[in-house]
Amino acid sequence: MEQRLRTEAKTLLEQDKVDYIIGFEPGILKFTTTPLITKDKDDIDRLVINSFIANNLANFLTELKGRVGIVAKGCDSRSIVSLIQDNKVAREDVVILGVPCPGIIDLSKVEKLVGKDRDELDDIAREGDKVVITTDGKRNEFSITEALFDNCLGCELPTPQEYDILLGEPTSPVAEIAASQTQIARLKEMTPQERWEFWKNEFSRCIRCYACRNVCPACFCQRCFVEETEPQWALPVPKWQDNLLFQVVRNIHVAGRCTDCGECERACPVNIPLRSLTKEMYDIVSDLFQFKAGMDKDAPPLMTHYEQEEAEDLVR
């Protein structure tokens, strides 16, 4: 797949079909990858596809000017489609290099499985439905479902639906829906007061670095409401009340655009379980309006559309 990607990417640049290629290259740290955004053919040989290509590269599309060839997993391709639906990206300006995605390995889960930090591990290898983590020369086998990101476990469409070039054979979902929802299920068992306390507690840790927002392809506003000063909607300081307000409103604002890619939670430096918010919103939108983000580039976006008869029971 990697070789195919390099060939295709090089061709796209050489034939001047795109101005940029966005993909992944190995990160400096073990078991990491990092986005590669380049115009230069010589960089193409650094492109990789492996079990650690976590970033949602669609995030960079709204920033780059020009035609872009972009490596996209299932969830990323839906983010791209969502951007097309919102007229933030023109379909003809992107060449989607689709990666059928078997799921991405969550390093923090791996660390917990073996009780060691990432840099103390010798190897992490995926072998079918197993993951083999080698530490101190010893092989530790686990089911892959224990090592994938929660959102990968619940992923509905691991193979991009929208692509120009599909780099491999379509894959089927891992479909561990329950496992992907354990945190949400736990929250739903709580009383409303307990849930509010839970979130209050989580958001008192927030340092307002805005990584969740900046890493999110659906958060493309030129100016975010938290930066408004007249009126000042939220204090620009890390008080839990304002942290919580920011995140709740952010979730409402990206409803119907969020594809459950899990980037916000992965980026959060203080490990707030943000996906327990985004995924719930994803489900609410799906239940109420049978809408799933980024499925159909020709469908109108959730919030610009309506049906005559819907959600009427919530209005007096």
């Binding site: 986005p35 340092i207 670095c209 990584a211 890493v215 620009p236 890390p238 980026a267 203080v270 490990n271």
Partner: protein
């Protein structure tokens, strides 16, 4: 005056110190780690602690701090400074890189005008350092004039020598504390030899490097090279992680809140990575991402040294470990297009 203490007696030692000090130790909060108030018994951090995600600067320069209160009274205002608790504090287990970072922060907070909030906490606190035995692959302190066992910026330094910690008093503060602490054994020459060996082993474990030679000149020479900066910052997402979690970053914002005639002025962490940081109504001098990243790199490696003769980076590696896109400052410093 070198002492030693059994690792299993650390709980007792902290209990003893707790009489006089509020003790702060590395703690887990959710999946993140920071220095928090010791609960009086848990010393399990000795097993898992490598370094905290939130740097210890937060104990002196918190993410959110009340500067003063104000009360509105028929159009008049009464201002009131927050009462200082006067409580003496002890941070147990601070890493050499973070202790050095505090020494770096002292310079800016003492410069010209003294910053009363930071300095009062600093004066009130004893730092007990703990040498690293297991640095991260992202650590590069040895390139910045420090090392995993550096005792230069703490009051008391602990070195892991197996079942025990060697305990050295570094400052007068540290000496008097150790003199008043019971239950410590004198370290033998063999202990000190073991410590030295352990320190050398740790030193070798730090493998990441940056070349800081002529760094100020090199950065100045490519300051205007927009193409270069654009290329190396393309993947940055302009979040505040690398700066907020940097132990030497000190930028802050000041904001008011007024509810029912009771007001507070806050100071909170701010970041040069965020566009709004420098935004003026008509103009933003650092509108573009590459300008902001350049500012971050240059501030640490060029401007701070120009003002205070020290690089404002201690090689703790947090910015590399925590970056959502794995941006690496050492790569930038290594790839500067130097024009001779």
């Amino acid at each position: 005056m070198t002492k030693k203490i059994n690792k299993r007696d650390i709980g007792k030692l902290l209990t003893q110190w707790n009489q006089e000090f509020a003790i702060f130790v590395p703690s887990k909060e959710g999946d993140t780690t920071k220095m928090t108030s010791w609960d009086g018994k848990d010393v399990s951090f000795l097993d898992w602690y490598r370094n905290t995600v939130i740097p210890p600067k937060a104990s002196f320069f918190p993410p959110l701090e009340e500067m003063f209160h104000f009360q509105k009274n028929k159009g008049s205002y009464d201002l009131e400074l927050p009462a200082s608790d006067g409580q003496k504090k002890l941070i147990f287990g601070i890493r050499p890189c973070d202790a050095k970072a505090l020494a770096i922060l002292d310079m800016i907070f003492k410069d010209a005008y003294e910053d009363p909030y930071y300095l009062s906490k600093r004066e009130n606190t004893v730092l007990v350092g703990l040498g690293c035995t297991n640095p991260y692959d992202s650590c590069f302190c040895t390139s910045l004039g420090s090392n995993p066992s550096d005792s230069a910026n703490v009051d008391i330094m602990l070195t892991d020598i197996g079942d025990q910690f060697l305990m050295e008093a570094i400052t007068d503060k540290g000496k008097s504390l150790i003199a008043n602490t019971s239950g410590l054994d004198d370290a033998t020459e063999a202990d000190e030899a073991r410590a030295k060996e352990a320190q050398e082993t740790s030193y070798r474990k730090v493998t990441k490097r940056v070349d800081t030679k002529d760094i100020e000149e090199r950065l100045l020479s490519c300051f205007e090279d927009q193409d270069y900066w654009e290329k190396v910052t393309a993947k940055c997402i302009s979040c505040g992680i690398c700066t907020f979690l940097c132990p030497t970053c000190y930028c802050f914002d000041i904001n008011d809140e007024l509810v029912k005639r009771q007001g507070v002025r806050f100071r909170s962490w701010d970041s040069c990575a965020l566009p709004i940081y420098t935004k003026m109504p008509m103009e933003n001098p650092r509108e573009e991402k590459w300008q902001r990243v350049r500012q971050k790199v240059c501030h640490k490696y060029e401007f701070y040294p120009m003002n205070f003769d020290v690089i404002a980076c201690t090689g703790c590696g947090r910015c590399i470990r925590q970056c959502p896109v794995n941006w690496d400052i050492t790569q930038i410093l290594a790839s500067l297009p130097v024009k001779v």
